[in-house]
């Protein structure tokens, strides 16, 4: 137990440090930090509506974080989660609109379509890395742009006639939940949270308990020894990217089928895919760590929305505060390192 506690102390200290420096910035800019943070907390858990919205915000962060973390655990850096998320979003919405099926088939089909699209998008860098040793970072970054513009084109020219967003998905494909809505004062909280939790369990189980996970991690740690032991390095590189991409695609599907119910032309990236990198790193690339980091991230993002409304603090300051907290959490490794050096020196 104390082992887990000590793992948590340095992120906690970092959060507090981030809040303190954020408070100083608010003071300097002439705003009341107490009121500011009060409204932030209010915006996270102030009433049932806010709780619902916070949970909704957390869902894609969990999935995007899992996607990045999974690739990291197997020695790959999937920086293309953003693109995989965007194609997953569109694919899920497409299936949600195009088919007329009973809910029990339609909803899973739409979710799987999102996962499959993300997986396919991630397959490309995986394949290129396995076959030609092209670095996955380069290919997947480029594919982010490809995903953005291809989906925009599809929405405007194929799925609609020069409109900026698709029509709504059929009710049978929606993740919306009258039950969650009723207990959270009509927030947009949806069943996606269940999907996210299932994925967390899948990731943990796959990596820690299956022979596939054993191979994936081994290849990530030491390709030579894995090859010597009879594992196929190339197969595992591709598989890792595909699974990672599936998580990313699911993150997009949750937005498409749950939060929005449609796909819209995007002027730029959603940012969730990139935030997923931070979530994964903060969560030390473990399934449970990703959940905790996503809670922090999603919570801050959701609560921040409330700060300008209640206290008039401009949203730019809010962004600075969030960035500071992330900065300090990220430097917690550094903090720990300093602490360790210090301890050694004193002894």
């Amino acid at each position: 137990m104390s082992k887990y506690l000590s793992k948590l102390t340095s992120p906690l200290i970092a959060v507090i440090l981030g809040l303190v420096v954020g408070a100083i910035i608010m003071l300097v800019s002439g705003y009341d930090p107490v009121a500011g943070y009060g409204s932030m907390v209010n915006g996270i858990i102030g009433d049932s509506y806010y709780v619902g919205e916070s949970v909704r915000t957390i869902i894609p962060y969990i999935l995007a974080g899992l996607a990045v973390a999974f690739a990291f655990r197997t020695g790959l850096f999937n920086i293309g989660v953003e693109g995989q998320l965007i194609v997953g979003w569109l694919a899920a919405v497409w299936v949600g609109i195009a088919f007329d099926l009973p809910r029990i088939i339609h909803l899973p089909l739409a979710i799987l379509a999102g996962a499959a699209a993300g997986a396919l998008w991630a397959f490309i860098p995986g394949y290129l890395k396995a076959k030609f040793r092209v670095h996955e970072v380069i290919v997947s970054i480029m594919l982010n742009y490809t995903a953005l513009y291809v989906t925009n084109y599809l929405i405007r020219n194929v799925m609609t006639d020069k409109l900026d967003k698709t029509e709504r998905i059929a009710d049978t494909a929606s993740l919306r939940s009258p039950f969650f809505e009723s207990i959270t004062d009509f927030s947009r909280m949806h069943w996606g949270i269940v999907v996210a939790i299932i994925c967390v369990i899948i990731m943990w189980f796959l990596l820690e308990r299956t022979k596939t996970g054993f191979e994936l991690k081994a290849v990530g740690f030491n390709q030579h020894a894995s090859e010597y032991a009879g594992m196929s390095v190339n197969k595992n590189i591709i598989l890792s990217m595909v699974i990672s991409g599936a998580f990313a695609g699911l993150a997009g599907a949750m937005e498409g089928l749950g939060t929005f119910g449609y796909a819209a032309v995007k002027g730029g990236f959603t940012g969730m895919g990139f935030d997923g990198i931070a979530v994964a790193l903060l969560g030390a690339n473990t399934a449970i760590g990703v959940v905790l980091a996503a809670l922090l991230f999603g919570g801050l993002k959701a609560g921040a929305l409330n700060m300008p409304l209640e206290t008039g603090i401009p949203s730019e300051i809010v962004d600075i505060v969030i960035a500071l907290i992330i900065f300090f959490v990220a430097s917690s490794y550094f903090i720990r390192w300093i602490a360790a050096r210090f301890k050694k020196g004193v002894k």
Partner: protein, 511 residues
């Protein structure tokens, strides 16, 4: 006689183990002092204490008679203590000079004065007869030369006491001779040397005195000219050690491995193995003798399926296994103790238990329907750890944390336990101490006596002579001679390995 270094009654604990207990080491000025002990005996810990990487719980360190507290390598440097690490700490794309001045760059107005530095490096190199080109890139020079760069690094920092950590483990016999010469030159110039080693031959050859550590305990210090290898070995291991491995005559039966006209290209596309014929029968150990770089690595990789071959055939029990995937070859009955245990043998970040099932994790009982059975995996690990005397805190310890000998024992346990028809042992005792070497040789002979075919590849002639039933000499990728260890001498083998008797011995002697 004054001492330059005194480490008195040092005690260093780590959670769960006492790495050094009451160890005393006193080094006289101008001597080569050996620190002898098995793998994991605590030699490295003691040296890390001296080098400021660890703080001792008890004991005193004195340099030139004055008590000192060494809390960081920088302080050690200032006191004139330099360390030549076993694993070189060099930046490959940098030149020799750039590596040497790294962290202590002489600069003029913020600009590094490379010319002056190179000049100084050249002077030092001349003074100690190191013959290092200050402008050569590390990536382009041999291992032996790289080691000399490490030596220069310590000298450049003004070291008076040099610690050599297992310096000969990575060197060829020729390079070892040169190193010994260099060490003697250093002594002549007034330096003192601590040599960490478990090779008794080296100690007898170059050292003045030797301090022995066993299982963290200081056993004592003896004068080299008053002792002999047998005494040193028993001091180190704590029991009598057999240098000559005892074995009965081999009773070879069916052919297990038959290699014919094999050709393998190396990474640059040059044939490293060509027209190679080799037969290994059940119940015999065939040793491959040769100087490093004559195609041994490529041959092993080809046999294990890690490298594609371009021509010839490899038959295992009458079935062609050439260019099959490593897993198919493993399943066909080949066990392989790889040359480089860190690169190929182990996933260092995995636990020792996970490493023990590295090739069998997908089979029952270790996994069923794709789900791992960790209970069975670690049960297996426990039993192998016990029967192969792998010294590890537990089966969950990462392989990285084990000493080289124990890592090697785990690999051998894993390979032998799969019960292969052919066991390939590549450099199985490299870097290991006499106790571990004896253990490993016994296991190889045990396998032979159990009717397995064993192929031993080694650069150590002594090992080849000792363990093999037949010796095949490899030269420039070909087997140039096959000799009986009972009827040959090291001199004859040496000549064959150098290619000088090639024509008389005949290129293709298929026995």
């Amino acid at each position: 006689m004054e001492y330059v270094i005194e480490m008195l009654n040092i005690r260093k604990e780590f959670p769960g183990i006492v790495a050094n207990d009451n160890v005393t080491l006193q080094v006289k000025k101008g001597e080569i002092h050996a620190l002898l002990g098995e793998n994991g005996a605590g030699k490295s810990t003691l040296m890390n204490v001296l080098f400021g990487l660890y703080q001792p719980e008890q004991g005193e360190i004195r340099v030139n008679g004055k008590p000192v507290k060494i809390t960081s390598p920088n302080i050690a440097n200032d006191l004139g203590i330099g360390m030549v690490h076993q694993h070189f700490m060099l930046v490959d794309p940098f030149t020799v000079t750039e590596n040497i001045i790294l962290g202590k760059e002489p600069s003029k107005a913020g600009k590094i004065d490379l010319k002056e530095a190179s000049e100084e490096v050249r002077k030092l190199s001349e003074q100690y007869q190191l013959r290092v080109d200050p402008y050569a890139k590390i990536a382009d020079i041999s291992i032996g030369m790289q080691q000399r760069v490490e030596i220069l690094k310590t000298l450049y920092r003004g070291a008076e006491i040099l610690i050599f950590d297992e310096p000969t483990a990575v060197l060829t016999p020729q390079e070892i001779k040169e190193l010994i010469y260099i060490m003697k030159a250093l002594i002549k110039e007034g330096k003192s040397i601590i040599l960490i080693t478990h090779k008794l031959k080296e100690i007898m050859e170059v050292c003045d005195r030797v301090t022995v550590i066993r299982k963290g305990q200081g056993i004592g210090t003896v004068n080299v000219n008053e002792t002999n290898p047998n005494e040193l070995a028993s001091l180190m291991v704590g029991r009598e050690v057999l240098f000559k491995t005892e074995k009965t005559a081999a009773t070879p039966s069916d052919v297990v491995l038959e290699v014919q006209e094999l050709e393998v290209k190396d990474s640059r596309g040059v044939s490293a193995v060509r027209n190679l014929d080799l037969t290994v029968r059940a119940g015999e150990i065939v040793g491959i003798a040769g100087v490093d770089g004559n195609g041994q690595s490529e041959l092993i990789e080809a046999l294990a399926g890690l490298r594609k071959t371009t021509a010839g055939s490899i038959m295992l029990n009458g079935k062609e296994i050439r260019n099959l995937k490593p897993r198919k070859i493993t399943e066909a009955g080949v066990g392989h103790i790889p040359e480089d245990r860190h690169k190929h043998g182990l996933v260092l970040d995995y636990s020792i238990g996970e490493n023990i099932v590295l090739q069998t994790y997908y089979q029952r009982p270790f996994s069923k329907a794709g789900i791992l059975n960790s209970k069975k995996i670690f049960e297996k690990a426990r039993s192998l750890i016990k029967s192969y005397d792998v010294r590890t805190p537990s089966e969950y310890t990462p392989a990285r944390a084990l000493s080289g000998g124990n890592q090697q024992k785990a690999i051998i346990g894993r390979e032998v336990d799969r019960n292969p028809d052919l066991l390939i042992a590549a450099q199985p005792t490299r870097g290991l101490d006499v106790g571990a070497i004896e253990f490993i040789h016994k296991r190889l002979i045990e396998q032979r006596d159990a009717g397995k075919a064993v192929l031993l590849i080694s650069f150590e002639l002594e090992e080849i002579m000792n363990v093999s039933d037949r010796i095949a000499v490899i030269y420039e990728g070909e087997i140039v001679a096959i000799v009986d260890p009972k009827e040959t001498t090291e001199q004859e083998l040496g000549l064959l390995m150098a290619g000088s008797k090639r024509t008389e011995a005949g290129g293709k002697q298929n026995v």
